[in-house]
């Protein structure tokens, strides 16, 4: 199977990013565009060189081979989910849910532990970490924490 070369793909993405950044500087005054335009041109030139280089010298890199794709996906989606839940129910509850769920999920390879004790340990961590830092930030440092739509904090 022909693999997609990551270098080619990333160089094309960067060419687009640079072109877009340059396009966006239109209509600005000289003092506002001089710097982003310079940086954009550098990026464009480097990306084009990189593109040519990666076409000439095709290296078959397997960037994502040695990883557990599923775990990485779950972890990434988990962070996004965490974010959404914070927006809904506020920081403290979201954090307890998130840490609990992920401490449990990440223990799946621990064969010698029973599900019940995994659940328990994850729960202790979740409550311990969340509440400790919540109190520390909110009451000691008086730093506000993200509130949700439905709950204050």
């Amino acid at each position: 199977m022909q693999r997609v070369n990551h270098d080619i793909v990333s160089s094309i993405i960067f060419i687009f990013v640079a072109a877009f950044a340059l396009w966006e500087t239109r209509g600005l005054s000289e003092m506002s565009y001089v710097f982003p335009r310079t940086a954009g041109i550098i990026l464009l030139v480097c990306s084009i060189i990189f593109f040519i280089k990666s076409i000439i010298k095709k290296e078959d890199k397997k960037a994502f081979d040695d990883i557990n794709k599923r775990k990485v996906m779950v972890m990434s989606l988990g962070m996004i989910g965490y974010l959404i839940v914070i927006g809904l129910v506020g920081f403290l509850i979201a954090s307890i849910i998130y840490i609990w769920a992920f401490c449990f999920y990440l223990q799946r390879d621990e064969k010698e532990k029973s599900n019940k004790s995994k659940m328990l340990h994850a729960g202790i961590t979740a409550f311990g970490v969340s509440i400790f830092f919540f109190v520390l930030f909110k009451f000691v440092f008086a730093v506000p924490l993200p509130p949700g739509i439905f709950f204050g904090g």
Binding site: A21, A39, C46, I86
Partner: protein, 506 residues
């Protein structure tokens, strides 16, 4: 100065002052170690409480907090690759690899020792060289800012492990994202897409967490094979003593780093992050085994920590001599002085010499206190990292969320942190190191302001060349830039040549 000795001694032997100094240092270390809580924020929180204190007590407490806060940043940098304060950014380069090798305790001790020494050197400079350094600070105008940013950017060569081209691209991306928001000189909104919260630009700490921490957290859990017991922290006896002598035997490294820190400190607008980056770069360039850097070399940690703590002293120079804060935390100390009814300005040293000298001596003492606490703490803090990944990873994600929200009380920052973090993970996988991107982001605003302001100055004077290329400090900086670009090239040419010679002879 000697005539104030009785004042100084009576103030420093006052148990309340000493107690509050220690409390300040400890609180600073804790705040500094938590990403998102900065020394600036901690100082601001403490400010109202200092209102009722004596002037000297207030300054001593705030000074201790400031010192502790800058040092504390290295703890999270070493343990979880997340600079607790931006100043600790260069500490991640070698500190985190040391942790991965199971040498977290060594890295922490090295950081504590070099921070202490750097801080004391910075304090001594503050005590004896303030008037001299103040004149130097005034010599930095827009062109000099531009060149110092350029000098920093030549570091891309040092930082882009692997492909130089990818490093340059990363740097350019960093510069571009630094321009998001209202243009500093032109005053127009850029790249906000009509979205008003973006007018303020991206917050450095948020991006630091995204680019350094999130990829590492995902990296912790990504492997297919079951995690073996996580990197046990090796126990060794007498590590502290060994490292102390290791550092003492490298006076040039420590002194050079401290000087870079002090000079960067006195320039308002360039903070501890720039100091640490420049000094790390210098350490790599002057080292015989360059290849070892970035893989867990103690010297990297020493260079970064000595300089960012020396920077603290430096940043107080313009404050005490000119009334201009050299860094955001110094701005709060200025606020504290104003609340005490003391107007910092050119006359501060003359009008309040007793207080200023007491503060300066206390500042040096506080650095020693920090060193002691740092050493004591290193033994225990390092153990955190030997917790199993399944507890550690979600807890770190939790902390990154708190940190990125707390910095500006802005939920958008949390979303940006996660978004950029996932992007950074993918980019790292395809060979784009986060360091050059962050470098571009840190130096972008300094370079842009320097460039645009210089252009306006040149427009008025009608002589661009003179402005950019003939001012004395600019000339020095340009020479350093050229050296740092050409140097590595020359050495490769030289090396390959000597190889050829060997071949001919052989």
């Amino acid at each position: 100065m000697l005539e104030f000795l009785p004042d100084i001694i009576s103030s420093l032997t006052n148990p309340i002052n000493l107690l509050l100094m220690c409390a300040g240092v400890i609180a600073g270390i804790i705040v500094g170690a938590l990403p998102g809580l900065t020394a600036t924020m901690a100082l601001a929180l403490l400010l109202p409480f200092t209102f009722t204190m004596q002037a000297d007590t207030s300054l001593i407490t705030l000074g201790g907090l400031y010192i502790g806060g800058i040092y504390g940043g290295c703890i999270s940098a070493i343990l979880i690759n997340t600079p607790g304060t931006p100043s600790a950014i260069a500490t991640t380069f070698d500190g985190y690899p040391m942790t991965k090798k199971g040498k977290a305790t060594q890295a922490l001790i090295a950081a504590a020792v070099s921070s202490g020494i750097g801080g004391v050197i910075g304090g001594l400079a503050l005590l004896f060289l303030t008037p001299l350094l103040a004149t130097l600070a005034l010599r930095f105008g827009p062109p000099e800012y531009f060149w110092i940013a350029m000098l920093g950017l030549t570091m891309i060569a040092t930082l882009s492990s692997g492909s130089m081209l990818k490093g340059l691209m990363g740097g350019a991306v960093g510069l571009l994202i630094s321009t998001i928001g209202i243009s500093p000189v032109g005053g127009e909104s850029r790249y906000t897409f009509g979205f008003s919260p973006l007018q303020a630009g991206l917050e450095l700490i948020v991006i630091l967490i995204a680019f350094f921490c999130i990829p590492e957290v995902i990296g912790m859990i990504e492997s297919k094979i079951k995690q073996k017991k996580n990197k046990e922290v090796k126990k060794e006896r007498g590590v502290a003593r060994k490292l102390f002598f290791y550092i003492i035997k490298r006076p040039i490294l420590v002194i050079r780093s401290s000087i870079i820190g002090i000079i960067t400190g006195i320039i308002p607008g360039a903070g501890g992050n720039v100091a640490a980056l420049l000094s790390y770069d210098a350490a790599v360039r002057f080292s015989k085994d360059k290849k070892e850097f970035g893989k867990g070399k103690v010297d990297g940690v020493v260079a970064s920590e000595a300089s960012n703590n020396a920077e603290v002293g430096g940043s107080l120079v313009p404050l005490l001599s000119l009334g201009i804060p050299g860094a955001p935390p110094a701005a709060i100390i200025l606020g504290a002085l104003m609340m005490q009814g003391i107007r910092p300005g050119p006359d501060l040293l003359e009008e309040h010499s007793g207080l200023v000298y007491t503060f300066l001596v206390a500042f040096i003492v506080a650095n020693v206190v920090m060193l002691i606490f740092g050493l004591m703490g290193s033994r225990y803090v390092g153990k955190v990292i030997s917790l199993p990944v399944y507890y550690l990873a979600p807890s770190i994600v939790f902390l990154t969320i708190v940190g990125s929200y707390a910095i500006r009380n802005n939920f958008l920052d949390v979303a940006l942190m996660i978004g950029f973090g996932l992007l950074a993970y993918v980019m790292k996988k395809v060979g784009f190191n986060p360091a050059p991107i962050v470098l571009g982001l840190i130096l972008g605003p300094i370079a842009e302001r320097g460039l645009a302001q210089s252009m306006l100055m040149a427009k008025a004077s009608g002589n661009t060349f003179e402005l950019f290329f003939t001012r004395p400090i600019s000339v020095v900086l340009i020479a350093l830039c050229i050296l740092s670009i050409v140097g590595p090239l020359l050495s490769t040419i030289f090396r390959s040549k000597s190889k050829i010679d060997e071949e001919i002879q052989g």
